[in-house]
Structure formats: structure tokens, C-alpha cells
């Protein structure tokens, strides 16, 4: 019998970690698969942000560096520029990390066209700290710091990072994908692989925004949270390739 699907050898087996139905796990698995397929594990460094994204540190088999909250693109800038030429650097960040406290760092890293890869997981909430309102929380969506739902007249509208970054001249690849279904997971993997290949080819800044679910803080079962993604968050944040050159 032939094994037609195997867990990537580039990933640690982790018991526990993310909550049931959290799609961070899928993203981590995909990034590990890409590292395995491209054969880059021993020359790769992950700069992880703060929040649930730092739980991934237990999964990676490559070198890992923890950046202060939101600063991963700045750390990656210094690292990528000064590391040996063949070093592959990626940041792994959530939406609070990247689109709130780290907005300045991601904008400028993108604007400089830094040659690294950004894996950006958007689940519309602050997961680790307990479901506070994120820059990506939908209007009307409840959060622990927006107990009556996000009011646009008070705190404005969700930030669409791919669209915002698409205003800049330098980025090479900007795509929004989702892990809500297996076909979309396959597309997500292709986007991640392209974002890493771009870096290896020296093409410049690539960012993949991955729509994810947070069943725990959304207060939904894993299956209902997938439904919520399809009906709500994936409508607010349309999938697609925003930049590819």
C-alpha cells in the first residue's frame, strides 16, 4: 500500500496547543509541507508574532525567533538582510499583531519590498487574550471589549490588509485565501508555496492572508464557525489574488 497523504516530516507532533477547530493548525501544517517540498527546512527562520500565532513555535522544526508584539516584519527585515544569502525568512502573524499594534511595521516592510514571506492569519478576533475586538472584527460582531457588537460610528470598520497593502508600489504578491474547506486549503497551500518561491527567486515581498476561525472566542462549535466564515467573514474579506507579479 502506498501512502498518499502523510504528515510533513518538517513538523513536530504536538498534543494540545490550539483549540479544537482552530484553523491555525491547518496553516502551520501547510507551511511545514511547503518547507518539506522546497527542501528549505535547514535554512529557514520563522519570526513569530505575539498572540495565538506564538503557539506555533512548538510546531516548527526550523529556527524560530519570537518578535515583540507586532514587530515581526522589522525583525525579519534585519534578519533577512544580514543572514546568509540563501536563508529563507517568514513571519507568522495574526490580525491583532499585524493589523493593529504592528500596522506600521508591516506597511513599511511591504513598502520597502523586503524579500521575505508573511503568513497572516485573520480570524477577526484576539484569540489568546480572550476574544477582544480586533482590527478585523466585523461591524456588529460581538467581542469581549465590544459587548454590544462593533459599532462603526464608534470604532470604525474592519481593516482589509490585502487591499491596503495593494496601494503600495513595492509588494510582489498579495493574496487572500481561506482554510474553510479542503479545496480552499489546497488553494491556500499553493499561495503559501508561491509566497516562499518568490522569496527564493529574490522577487520581493509576499503576503498571504489566510481566513481562519476562532470557535472558542466566537462562541461557536467548529462546524458552526466554518458556517460563520462562509456567511460572514469571507464576505467581508473577499478571497482573491490582489497582486502577482
Amino acid at each position: 500500500m502506498e501512502k498518499v497523504y502523510s504528515v510533513p516530516s518538517t513538523k513536530h507532533e504536538v498534543v494540545g496547543g490550539f483549540c479544537p477547530g482552530c484553523l491555525h493548525g491547518v496553516v502551520v501544517k501547510l507551511v511545514c509541507e511547503v518547507q518539506e517540498e522546497l527542501g528549505i527546512l535547514d535554512r529557514t527562520v520563522c519570526v513569530v508574532g505575539v498572540g495565538c500565532c506564538c503557539i506555533t513555535a512548538r510546531h516548527w522544526k526550523c529556527d524560530v525567533m519570537n518578535a515583540p508584539h507586532g514587530r515581526a516584519p522589522a525583525v525579519a527585515t534585519g534578519l533577512k538582510r544580514m543572514a546568509p544569502k540563501d536563508t529563507v525568512v517568514y513571519t507568522y502573524q495574526g490580525d491583532g499583531d499585524l493589523a493593529a499594534i504592528g500596522l506600521s511595521e508591516i506597511m513599511y516592510a511591504a513598502n520597502r519590498g523586503e524579500n521575505f514571506t508573511v503568513i497572516f492569519v485573520n480570524n477577526s478576533t484576539y484569540g489568546m487574550t480572550g476574544g477582544q475586538m480586533a482590527p478585523t472584527t466585523l461591524v456588529g460582531m460581538k467581542a469581549t471589549t465590544a459587548p454590544f457588537g462593533r459599532k462603526a460610528e464608534d470604532v470604525g470598520y474592519p481593516l482589509h490588509m490585502c487591499e491596503i497593502l495593494n496601494q503600495l508600489g513595492a509588494p510582489t504578491y498579495l493574496a487572500r485565501v481561506s482554510c474553510d474547506s479542503s479545496p480552499n486549503v489546497i488553494k491556500t497551500k499553493a499561495a503559501i508555496k508561491k509566497a516562499f518561491q518568490n522569496q527564493i527567486d529574490g522577487k520581493g515581498f509576499s503576503l498571504v492572508e489566510i481566513m481562519s476561525a476562532c470557535p472558542t472566542n466566537w462562541g461557536l462549535s467548529p462546524l458552526d464557525s466554518i458556517k460563520f466564515m462562509r456567511e460572514k467573514t469571507m464576505v467581508e474579506f473577499p478571497l482573491g489574488v490582489y497582486r502577482d507579479r
Binding site: 500500500m1 502506498e2 501512502k3 498518499v4 497523504y5 502523510s6 504528515v7 510533513p8 513538523k11 507532533e13 504536538v14 498534543v15 494540545g16 490550539f18 483549540c19 479544537p20 477547530g21 482552530c22 484553523l23 491555525h24 493548525g25 491547518v26 501544517k29 482554510c179 474547506s181 479542503s182 486549503v185 489546497i186 470557535p215 467548529p222 462546524l223 466554518i226
Partner: protein, 67 residues
């Protein structure tokens, strides 16, 4: 004939594999793993077509497929 192998230790019973399986091969079991989850089990192996959809969707990398 295809075979689905489940690493029950890391399964968190989120059911995403069940959602993504087109043939009804999988279901939550009655046994619980050391973490307390009623991990997924294969209930209809004969129907499996090795499309890998379950494994691809699994957030915990708990599924491997043989053909």
C-alpha cells in the same frame, strides 16, 4: 483498497474531517483520548476513495491516507 489512519492522540474531535469527507467514511467515536476528546474513527472504510479531503482539512495533522 484505501485506508485512513487516524492519530487518535492528537485528534481534537473538531469534525472538520467529517465535514469535508464526501463519502461518510468518518464519525466521532465513543472512546476518548488522553486529552479527553472523543476522537474521530473510521466507520465506513469501504466507501473511502482516498480523495484526501479529510486529511487536508485536519488542523491537527492527525490523518494519513494509504492507497
Amino acid at each position: 483498497m484505501p485506508k485512513v489512519e487516524i492519530n487518535s492522540k492528537v485528534c481534537k474531535a473538531c469534525e472538520l474531517c467529517i465535514l469535508n469527507c464526501p463519502k461518510g467514511v468518518l464519525a466521532l467515536g465513543k472512546e476518548s483520548n488522553p486529552s479527553g476528546y472523543h476522537y474521530v474513527t473510521v466507520v465506513n472504510q469501504d466507501a473511502c476513495i482516498a480523495c484526501k479531503m479529510c486529511a487536508i482539512a485536519c488542523p491537527d495533522a492527525a490523518i494519513e491516507i494509504y492507497k
